[in-house]
Symmetry: C4
Subunit: 208 residues, 4 copies
Amino acid sequence: MKLQSGLKPRGVEDKTSLDRLQFFSDAVFAVAITLLALDIRLPPAAAELSEPELQRALVGLWPKYFAYVLSFLTIGLFWLGHHRKFRLIRRYDGTLLRINLLLLMVVAFVPFVTSLLSEARNGTSVRFYAATMMTVAILAWATSAWAAHRGRLTSPDKDGLRISPLESVAVASIFGLSILISFWSVEWAMLSWILIFPANRLASIVDR
Amino acid sequence: MKLQSGLKPRGVEDKTSLDRLQFFSDAVFAVAITLLALDIRLPPAAAELSEPELQRALVGLWPKYFAYVLSFLTIGLFWLGHHRKFRLIRRYDGTLLRINLLLLMVVAFVPFVTSLLSEARNGTSVRFYAATMMTVAILAWATSAWAAHRGRLTSPDKDGLRISPLESVAVASIFGLSILISFWSVEWAMLSWILIFPANRLASIVDR
Amino acid sequence: MKLQSGLKPRGVEDKTSLDRLQFFSDAVFAVAITLLALDIRLPPAAAELSEPELQRALVGLWPKYFAYVLSFLTIGLFWLGHHRKFRLIRRYDGTLLRINLLLLMVVAFVPFVTSLLSEARNGTSVRFYAATMMTVAILAWATSAWAAHRGRLTSPDKDGLRISPLESVAVASIFGLSILISFWSVEWAMLSWILIFPANRLASIVDR
Amino acid sequence: MKLQSGLKPRGVEDKTSLDRLQFFSDAVFAVAITLLALDIRLPPAAAELSEPELQRALVGLWPKYFAYVLSFLTIGLFWLGHHRKFRLIRRYDGTLLRINLLLLMVVAFVPFVTSLLSEARNGTSVRFYAATMMTVAILAWATSAWAAHRGRLTSPDKDGLRISPLESVAVASIFGLSILISFWSVEWAMLSWILIFPANRLASIVDR
């Protein structure tokens, strides 16, 4: 084990501790992503509805389904990015732990903004949602920037693999742009979020 | 570590990352399965009820218990299948990650359809429930089909062990058939679901 | 890896899979134990209460605190027992997986009976609670009985360590007895539950 | 594996079991920390609000955001401390398991006191919150005191690394002092909690 010091390489190299950090992060991601579904609630007095009424009620829940799928896939992509980054991180220090904690704090907040978006699709809720997701992306970028700067916490001998900030920057930009677009059109702002999926695909090709 | 390329074997071979993928999946399964019980709620004003009233109220919750046991065991079997498959998967690629994410998205949706089924046992809710479970089974099949196709992501030296699509196909068929049956009889559709338990038993014998 | 066969030792010996089984079980235990606290709810309109009213309301929540502490420690002990048993289990088979799944199903049900007990401390709820906990203990006993029978799934070379059914049997008996006692006195039935703590202490001395 | 005995070193040395203990603890921390966000609820009838009304309602949720951030970061720091301590623990015994269980019980209670604090910021709720956090810190101190006393459960050959009680004692003192301050001023009591962040920073420098 190497102690944190002024010398390089910085950070503590301890497989078990790093595993535990990833594990804790995975657990927060997993709980947050699963809690999203708690916001999809049955229509009140579902037991008393006739079948056609129940069908209409279930169809009428589409904003809930939409927000669920959107947030699940977006958090899922953030998790894939976290997973991809941490493959290359071999050491950690207090700063990495702290940035990661902030990242998890915003991820755990996503179920709330998802609920907001499913209730009201106006400028306010779209901007609140996009700002939250942009913050996750910025913190994901900060994680990789901190870890990868001059190989601070990464392993040098990884066949030229490197942590690319590309995906985080792209996703942050898309959500940032959508905030601007939302002042003109809420619908186009939400449509623009679809771009995060090709952005992730591209990043996974470049980053490998 | 082998990079994703046109050459075989495809995919990234990285024990820690694969562990993390399984871990994340396990956590989503575990949270979803445990959240099922949140739908079993006490009768309102339980504290004011007389003992015979409380007994009747607890017995009257049987649709909740039934839906809980059904969904717990079904998700449990899906988890066992996931567990069995991933024993043989030794590499992963982006496609596997994405199919798995979709699988988890539908698994995390199961508490909602369970709640629906416990409120109303009519054609609409039975079909919604069966369609959700069928989707899980199809995505479970897609995982193994992708991983096992020409040994893409599996290990060749495993004493002839192979990933069989048998269980997923059987479970998907049972839930698919139950959708058809439900147009004739909702009760028989629900009864037909019992068949997934011998199907799993059979698959665990064939798959070993 | 050894395949399931008629020969001894039975079961599959696969460290990663066994880890995953323990992990999934741990996650269900952890989620169930943490969800217990969700039942402790603030008095309605807590924001409008005066300070003395708030104090009285918080003190008035004692049945919630009591049920929380009782169930947390009891599930905690079950987890410790699970942990102690699985230290000695080195292989698994389908039956172990299935018994374990049933065990988790009842563990995930504990938040409901805890909520019931905190609402009403009469014979009905005490018996429902005790019967649930007794079922957990019986399934815990079944796990160890299956695994340890003629060393089916345990490791022989463990310095004479053995899985003892003692604790599970003791805990099942205590909860079983409390059901009988509850027909005479609900208070004494609940008091008798305290015995599970020395029983666990004793088992941890004998089992080591 | 060394059995618990009168001889030193005490405790069981079993990497897998110790991993599982950390894992279970991590999962409880992760679920508790993620459940905090469930208390941030949308204003009722959010869908019917005009945009300015929705904006005011979202801004009006600031006590919820404040309590969320405070508790998330505080539990996060406790987790970091747990993580730091367990790096140095190499064996465990029944007492460690029991203290850890009590620690988790109080951690899982934090969402309730967070909810209380977000509803009412008066002396009662501030003292209840501070007392809960102080209890977590005391139990964290007890964990390290038990493990580190004469190297009972720690590894001797760790480059002079040692478990320091400093952080836990500092955090317990800060929350204890804030209880006293709250009788004079609730606002200053809450402000004093900010001190736990430099205390953690300091501890991470001393403890390394």
